[in-house]
């Protein structure tokens, strides 16, 4: 487990001292003359921070994530990861999707080892790490289960372990628990926070659930549709680790109201 975790906890790092790992300037994506998925988004993400992207369908949040991942090209603007223009998928950027997208013919641990296999040869250390990651996401005793033998929540856990196996420290999560039921999702969110805090990763988390966006994040990028725009970046000042009780506090609900206000104006 110790090999998986980086010693530095996020809370200990002063936000102002952290360099930006991700910078976008006037990022624009047009699918055609009339269909503007994202217009003029300018933003920066400091190292080790958790940023939520929230907004209704068609606000360009998934598009933005795919551009950061290097999966689709921009129309105009600049987008840089660690000072380098994004042109193709990078090894320090990893993505997780709403569907677990596991390979049915591979056991859980074989699925987790996929990124390693695609990059080259699999070593003993990789295998050990894959098992450790499965334990980290709470899948002891299911290392050799096939996806069809696992529940939806467990499949997403395998998918998360696979993402961590890439070694990427910039994690792009596209509604990763969107297909799960409310209770499972809540539990998965808390575990996600624990895990990314542990490895000190930078996270971009796409969701259309306002409370979820705020509960998880240091910053919430509020996005509005037609055309997709980054309306405002809202800071979330709560200390970590966070407990689920937070969502019932007045301070929390003030921020919810603020975000709702920004979204409601459009």
């Amino acid at each position: 487990m110790a090999a998986v975790l980086k010693s530095e906890a996020r809370a200990a790092v002063d936000a102002a001292a952290r360099p930006n790992v991700l910078e976008g300037e006037r990022v624009t994506k047009r699918f055609s003359e009339t269909v503007v998925a994202l217009e003029d988004a300018t933003f920066s993400v400091p190292e080790g921070s958790f940023v939520s992207l929230v907004g209704p369908s068609g606000c360009g949040k998934s598009t933005l994530l795919r551009m950061v991942a290097g999966l689709i090209p921009m129309t105009s603007g600049t987008l840089a990861v660690r000072g380098e223009e994004v042109k193709a998928p990078r090894t320090d950027v990893g993505m997780m999707f709403q569907k677990a997208t596991l390979l049915d013919w591979r056991t859980a641990v074989e699925n987790v080892l996929l990124p390693t296999e695609l990059a080259g040869r699999t070593t003993d250390a990789d295998r050990k790490r894959a098992i450790e990651l499965l334990h980290l996401v709470g899948l002891e005793d299911f290392e050799f289960a096939f996806p069809r033998q696992l529940s939806g929540g467990m499949q997403q856990r395998v998918s998360l372990a696979r993402l961590l196996q890439t070694g990427a420290d910039i994690l792009l999560l596209d509604e990763p628990f969107g297909a799960l039921d409310e209770f499972t999702r809540e539990r998965m969110n808390i575990e996600l926070l624990r895990i990314v805090d542990g490895i000190g990763a930078t996270v971009l988390f796409v969701t259309h659930n306002i409370a979820e966006a705020i509960f998880l994040a240091d910053q919430v990028m509020v996005m509005t549709p037609r055309p997709g725009r980054l309306a405002k970046v809202v800071d979330v000042p709560f200390a970590r680790p966070r407990e689920i009780d937070l969502i019932t506090t007045a301070e929390f609900n003030e921020i919810v109201a603020e975000v709702r206000g920004i979204l409601g104006g459009h």
């Binding site: 990893g94 997208t101 390979l103 695609l118 050799f144």
Partner: protein, 294 residues
């Protein structure tokens, strides 16, 4: 173009207690015995002309002679089986290769498509006389017709399997920076395998039809030839016995394909997963200890 559905349904089999299974088996036997008895009785009281439809006992007698007295059936049986299987491999390999080419190269796909459509709408059996003219009266013309019939389902299913690879998984592979080669072998091949396998299963049935039809047209051996010889002599009992032998051959080939399917596409069968999961666990642990010992 059509694709064979890849739902895995066990025909007529379903879960239930041993008692239910026994009861069902008894009903099956009862129905079969009733049909045979009525047929036999009808023959004996003279309702059926033995030249048109002989009694089951006559068919059984003919079957017995074919298998245990003269033993005529065996040579013909294996000749046809050989033709069908050889045709299956030849047509399968050609169909598979062309489909892989068409799946990976859009230009090739574009220019091969019209020929594939014409090929599909032309009844393959109608090509028999031309095939006989080209390949002669021996085994090769039977193999050729079998291969021709196998080709199309394999080609279509393989191509559509590759073209319908899960787009989410493709994106995931892309985000992991996977090469084309690795994406092909680690994602496309296994993902398309169930549809490809369904094409091969249809092809196997087609191969048998091809071999037998070519034997009808011109042959001096094979189960189709044997059937024709008996029916020309109005020996319907023996003809039906040969027909049953064809069913047996079809059943053997079908069972082989089913077994292959269950082995290769194990992840579609929930009942097989626990055992394979344990096997994979043992293999993984062995790899770990082997590497640790170095």
């Amino acid at each position: 173009m059509t694709v064979e559905a890849t739902k895995y349904v066990d025909l007529g089999r379903s879960a239930g207690s041993a008692a239910t299974a026994l009861r069902r088996a008894l009903i099956h036997v009862a129905i079969f015995v009733t049909i045979i008895t009525v047929w036999e009785y009808a023959s004996h009281v003279g309702h059926l002309n033995p030249l048109i439809l002989p009694a089951p006992s006559n068919v059984a007698q003919a079957m017995y002679e074919l298998y245990f007295v003269t033993g005529t059936i065996y040579r013909h049986f294996f000749v046809t089986m050989y033709e069908a299987v050889a045709g299956f491999f030849i047509g399968g390999v050609i169909g598979l290769s062309l489909a892989v080419g068409a799946a990976l190269n859009q230009t090739f796909r574009r220019y091969i498509a019209p020929y594939a459509v014409v090929f599909n709408v032309t009844p393959a059996i109608a090509v028999t006389p031309i095939i006989i003219a080209w390949f002669g009266f021996g085994w090769s013309s039977k193999i050729a017709l079998a291969a021709l019939i196998v080709f199309f389902p394999v080609f279509v299913n393989t191509l559509s399997g590759f073209l319908r690879v899960n787009p989410d998984a493709e994106e995931m592979f892309r985000s992991l920076g996977a090469s084309k080669m690795r994406t092909f072998f680690k994602l496309m091949v296994p993902d398309a395998a169930p549809i490809i396998m369904a094409g091969f299963k249809v092809g196997m049935t087609g191969a048998l039809i091809g071999a037998i039809v070519a034997e009808f047209a011109a042959a001096s051996e094979g189960i189709g030839f044997l059937m024709q010889r008996f029916s020309f002599h109005l020996d319907i009992s023996s003809s039906i016995a040969v027909l049953l032998s064809m069913s047996i051959m079809g059943l053997i080939l079908f069972t082989l394909m089913e077994a292959l399917d269950a082995t290769l596409i194990f992840w579609k069968r929930d009942s097989r997963l626990p055992a394979i999961s344990q096997k994979r666990a043992r293999r993984f642990r062995k790899q770990m200890t082997a590497l640790a010992a170095q």
